[in-house]
């Protein structure tokens, strides 16, 4: 695959130090420490409302911690302003959501191309690369279809393609199979495993232990905003 960036295996891609996040009186994260090295596939698990999405958002720079530091790809996110964060994200991070978050008004191809076009890639080039990705993900024949007419699995593949457009160092997925039937879910998971196999660093949030153990090399269990347990997974597939 053409999607994997130059990741050195021993390099730390994500480092969270004593990260706290409060929403008003509620504490979503409470002193989280976490380190992810290049090439790893880490699954974050835990019950609903325990802080998994919040953790992911911290790593993506979508939200700022109340205290503590977040470093991604050697960059302290706290040192960046909004624009800096956006520029950082578009270079180094790809994101997949539970509800796909595709733009309804654009066909699959343009949804994917968008990510490259935002950084100034010409429409032609962006569409060419988007088509390659859709092809690799097996949905090239759906390129002109609008999201509303795609199946859930197809939508998530398009979303994965979009996340990979700028060759991110880190791929974040928040319950990527949560809105899919089990068969489509499996397929998307397989896709992520394939990506990891060729070196893509992954951070996946899920509350499905089966999926987690299947695709991750490390499990992190979160409860009440704290890392409750960390464990290595013996053999992924």
């Amino acid at each position: 695959m053409t999607t994997v960036p130059d990741n050195h295996p021993s390099r730390t891609v994500v480092r969270l130090d004593d990260v706290r996040k409060e929403y008003g009186d509620a504490t979503a994260l409470d002193g989280v420490r976490l380190e992810i090295r290049a090439g790893e596939a880490v699954a974050v698990m835990g019950p609903s409302g325990c802080g998994k999405s919040t953790l992911l958002n911290m790593v993506a720079g979508l939200d700022r911690p109340t205290s503590g530091t977040v470093q991604v790809h050697g960059q302290d996110l706290g040192a960046l302003n909004e624009t800096g964060l956006a520029l950082f994200r578009r270079r180094h991070i790809g994101m997949i959501f539970q509800f796909f978050n595709l733009i309804d008004d654009l066909p699959a191809l343009d949804n994917v191309a968008l990510a490259a076009q935002l950084i100034g890639t010409s429409a032609r080039q962006a569409r060419r690369r988007a088509l390659e990705l859709l092809d690799e993900l097996g949905v090239a024949d759906r390129k002109d279809t609008y999201p509303a007419a795609l199946s859930g699995g197809e939508r998530q593949r398009v979303a994965v393609a979009r996340a990979l457009m700028n060759r991110p160092a880190l791929l974040l997925a928040d319950e990527p199979t949560g809105a899919l039937d089990s068969r489509s879910g499996e397929q998307v998971m397989d896709l992520l495993i394939d990506l990891n196999q060729i070196g893509q660093t992954l951070l996946i949030v899920t509350h499905d232990p089966h999926l987690a153990t299947r695709c991750a090399s490390r499990l992190i269990e979160v409860a009440d905003g704290r890392v409750a347990r960390e464990s290595a997974v013996e053999a992924a597939v």
Binding site: S53, N57, A86, R89, M95, D105, D110, A148, R162
Partner: protein
Amino acid sequence: MSAVWRASRAAVKRRRLQTFVIGLVVLCSTTTILLGLGLLAAASAPFDNAFAQQRGAHTVATFDASKVSSARLAATARRPGVEAAAGPFGQAVLEMPEDWLWMPAGSLSVVGRAEPDGPVDRIHLLEGRWATAPGEIVINWPIAGTPGRDTLGTELRPRGGPALTVVGFATSMSKTAGGWVSPEQMERLRPATRQMLYRFSDAATERELRAGLSTATARLPADSLVTAQTYLALKRAFAAQADAYVPFMTLFGVLGLLISVLIVGNVVSGAVVSGHRHIGVLKALGFTPNQVMAVYLTMVSVPAVIGCVLGTLIGNAATGPILRVAFAGIDTGGAEIGTSWWPSVLSLAGMPALVVVTALIPSVRAHRLPAAQAITAGSSPRTGRGLRVQRRLGGTRLPRAVSLGLGRPFARPGRSLLTMAAIVLGVTTVTLTTGLTSTLLAFVDDDGATRVRVEAAGGSTVGGDTARRLSDRQTEQRLRSLPGADRVTVRGLTRVSLAGHTEPVYANFYRGDTRDLAPHVVDGHWPDRAGQAAAGPAFLDQHGLSVGDRITVLLNGRQTPVTIVGRLSDGNAKALDSNWQTLRRLDSSFQAAEYTVRLTQGADVRKYVDAVRAADPALRPSVLRPDNTVATTVVGFSSVFTVLLTVVASLGVFNTVLLDIRERRRDLGMLKSIGMTPRQVMTMTMSSVAALGVVGGLLGIPLGIVAHRLVVDHVGVIVFPEFTKQVWHLPQLAALMLAGVTIAALGALIPARSAARLTIAKVLHNE
């Protein structure tokens, strides 16, 4: 009902901003409309009320006393079509000296009447009592208030007539006389004419009035009728200034109404569309379709009613000062200019009704929406031209943020059209105002030259005790010879009577360089020979005159025929312009007291003024500023309206963008998650309305040009010369193009910034 009320309250609370926008839009529009209506009401109602109260004369006819007897005149009261009649009353003209009751010298038309009451023209006594004995007179006081009780008992000494003591002040809406004396006193004055006052059964138009009068006077000698003055002319005179403002006030009112309808429709339908999920939930909770509709109607009615009430209050408060300007210097007589109640009632009932009707259409949609579809609304498959446009835009070389923005209007074509219409009307308003301002500035026509006005003490305009050292002619010569003088125009101002008209008028008799005055003639030519005159449209209208007509001018017991040879572009409703040769026929010794000196380019104004003072201490020079009250007023009003309507149009854009961002929070979150910078979000949002702004400008400018034409062609008291109407130039039009973009940008700025600052985590969390 309480469930509906509770749900509505919750809905209003959740949509504070939208509720505020609806309220503000309704407020601005109500104020605008109320100003227009208030003026329209004031232009006719006060006159009509006072006229009806006094049983005013539909026609005041003056007959030659030597050609028809009183008995025959009295008999006309029984002719068909005559509803009521009063008279005949003897009528004579007195020549009043300088400064009688602070008024300039001139003619005073007096009528002999035994009592103020009667079947027609019940004269309203303001102060004192009626004149019953010889040597007594009651003075007509046409403006508000009276000169006070102390003035009663003043003795008037008309030239060549008996002394008369003022015993009362009175006012007549029919303007039948400048003063009244007892019939005995009148006989001693030997009246040359007699007055009949008629009310006709058909009196709606000039035509009916003419027909009524000719039926009434059919049996009288053909040349016995000297003149007739109708109440319609008086009514026109009453509203002359206000009439000038009515065309554009009405236009602004209509524009305001249209914009409000558009925006309220947009705001409300937006609320319904974005409330689809909310509607679904309500229905799932067991609300009936009618209840859902009621919730949505209540939701918009609350702010609409509040906005309307506040707008009515502000509108009424603002009408007062505007009426004062519009009716400044008008003889109001017994009429009280004030704010009428009906515009308030109309707006209080009409605006909320309009809002509710506008809201009804989208609410019906809410009524019909099936619950399941409502809950899942948003992910329904989309098709159509809009999508193709977005696709095409995505392939262009434009930065993606821009092309995404440009594609937005096509996603919601209905809403975009409404928004664009609001921008179009906004641009129309701005164009109209720009045009009006240019026209008025061209009209006021400052040629850049400095003018000095020199008034002489003892003249009719300046009272004073310094005697003139130089005569009128010497003064003119001296002013010409002083260094810096270019042209000197001399004006003799006096009050004269027109045969057949009871009310005296002012006459300006000019000599010297009258070249500066000639351009104001729009029809015919400047009166440059003896026996010629010109006047503004208001004067001509109110005296039933047009170019080519002949009148007889009286002054100091002498009279001369005068032909109207020109119509001026504007001018006092009570003044006509003529020349010195004509004045000489009436008064050979008249001394002018006002001189206007145009200085040469670069002349030293101070030096000139000092030289004038040195020449004769009785001369009072002052540097002239052009009098442009009408221009200032029109420009002032238009600017206020423009600001109001621009704000309203911007609010429309604001609301659209706000709704759009609300609906697309998830898209925005996603775009940010793939690295869209805040600036790109701004760019995207701004370009989504910029296109509407440009198109709005392209459509609004021609509409504004048409509206401008309509207004300048229909301002009654001013006839704009053609050159002042051609005000459009390319650079100016290019600047106007910016108006649409500005309105769009103003409205979009705040929501665009909030979109740029949107915290993505929050958006995604709330999904």
